[in-house]
Amino acid sequence: MFEFIYNILDFSIDLFIKDIKFENYILTALTGIIIAFAIINGVLGGVLALIWGERRLLGRFQQRTGPNRWGPQGILTSTADAIKVMFKEDIVPEEADKYIFNVAPLLLVIPVFIIFSVIPFGISLYAVDINVSVLFILAVTSISGLSIICAAWASANRIAIFSALRSVAMLISYEIPVGLSLVGILLICESMSVMDIVIYQKIPFILIQPVAAMVFFLGSLAEINRTPFDLTEAESELAAGYQNDYSGMKWGLFYLGEFAAAIAAATVFSTLFLGGPNGPILPGIFWLTVKVIAVLFVIIWIRASWPRFRIDQVLNLAWKGLFELTLVNIIVTSIAVIIWTDGEANRLIYIGLANWIFAFPFVFLIFKMLKTKNYDSDNKKLIRYPVGSETPKFHKEKN
């Protein structure tokens, strides 16, 4: 796509002006600006649509209508929100560290847009093709942890620091399972480039590597601070946590960055595990949109149904549960890759079967991490007297 736009620009400028100095560099810069403009606008439009969609969908799960006043079916609600946020007063606390305070929201928003530069939207619709794009994606997503701790420390607010430290602990712990879960895919495809992974997926990788898909999904939920891992801004406990002291458009950037991160996580998941733009007849960008919407639906569905974890359970889950699952996945996949080498027909099906049979049963062991073995079904029926005592001590007999 880069060459396509470059050629168009070259042709159209040559019609008017013949000879410019540094024509090469100017044209490259212009092409880059146009592509970045298109991606950022697309993502921002997606964020507005996601805000509307989430509020309506959450309302329907709770048997109520979501917002439906502004515009047809309430589409303009997010625009109204954005305008309101822009007009609010911009407050900087007196004891705050001004430079870091102002820079922190940007650190959250910018890496999210960078991720979209390596995602293929179609067969040749991509901005850039690096040959280590998976590593690039993993590296860029870890910058968002920095923004949270910057925001909290610069606010000089005890509750903000509390929530930010929790969040940083969680983000650091979940990067390892997320990274290691992709090793299985890299072993199968023998390349770290997202383009190669997309081309390789005749069968979507979610069916071939179920354990890796589950670990990656839960890890992504933790990285974007979403239920059931949203304890950084647990509204019922800390009332917005690290964003406490932000107002006006800076808070708007935090809000926007969260939703953009959700879209980014959904896009990465659907590219790596669901096949990206692969699909019959219709153009690739249509299929990618459908898959992203499906993944976002599942994310919102989980938000509507499950309560949240506590911090020590979250860390237990990462270090003792998901990390070991990824190790199991790597062992099983590497053995399978050696047995059925590249070039064999139906290779993916055999590897998938090996994963389902040998790796999936380990998933049930995670629930031991959540201390569910204390459940006894006695609580379902009524107990009359205190269990474990012969005579009921405090029950007044009727004379």
């Binding site: 329907r60 048997q63 047809p72 079916q73 149904s305």
Partner: protein
């Protein structure tokens, strides 16, 4: 166990995605094309012939229809209904109010007799800004002159306008609620659609005539010592 509890929770929410909404959109709700037709009791084609623009607006989901919330006849609304020719200015309501917001000022006079005696009411103020609508004043009135009202949308810009004085109470539209007034419940009374402006229909009993009052007074004195 084993994660199935989580899946059960997901299935419950999923099933509720397809059940009807139980909230009420108030004061007006957004309807689609068929909702608009139902609210006006016409078919879609008739509406189209009348004004094609409103079908377009309804198809986008932006048409509005007014909504009325169901209330029971005993609802204690934000207004009072007062029949001035039943009131004798006995001030039972003022004495019984826990907050003391009813103010009654009278002077003795022989003309302009109210139904019960020789007082003329100068002032009968109820301060709805401080009222808690407990209904004890209505319970106290022996002549069924004061009733609770039905409406609740009585917002105002000034606190002084929340005080209902005598002229406002007399000239208001009278929709009494049947709180502590069982005579209204005998014939399926709906305070929203019917109005009781005749004070004779508002009470349980009529005022006994002077002869009877005197006889009762005498009898009580004679036989109870």
């Amino acid at each position: 166990m084993l994660g199935f509890g989580l899946i059960k929770g997901l299935s419950v929410t999923f099933r509720n995605l397809f059940s009807p909404v139980f909230t009420i959109q108030y004061p007006d709700k957004r309807v689609g094309v068929f909702g608009l037709a139902k609210s006006k009791n016409k078919s879609v084609l008739a509406l189209f012939k009348e004004n094609p623009k409103q079908i377009l607006i309804a198809a986008l989901g932006m048409a509005k229809v007014k909504v009325k919330i169901e209330q029971s006849p005993r609802f204690r609304g934000n207004e009072f209904v007062w029949y001035d020719d039943r009131c004798t200015a006995c001030a039972s309501c003022a004495k019984y109010c826990p907050l003391g917001i009813i103010e009654i000022v009278t002077h003795a006079s022989e003309e302009n007799l109210q139904a019960g005696g020789n007082y003329e009411i100068d002032k009968f103020d109820i301060d709805t800004g401080r009222c808690m609508f407990c209904g004890l004043c209505v319970e106290a009135c022996p002549y069924d002159a004061l009733h609770m009202g039905t409406d609740f949308e009585k917002g105002n810009y000034l606190r002084s306008e929340l005080v209902l004085d005598k002229e406002t109470l007399i000239s208001q539209v009278k929709n009494p609620s049947s709180w502590f007034r069982p005579q209204f419940e005998e014939n399926e009374y709906d305070p929203w659609t019917s109005e009781v402006s005749d004070s004779k229909e508002a009470g349980r009993h009529e005022k006994p005539n002077d002869e009877k009052i005197k006889q009762d007074w005498v009898n009580k004195r004679k036989f109870n010592g």
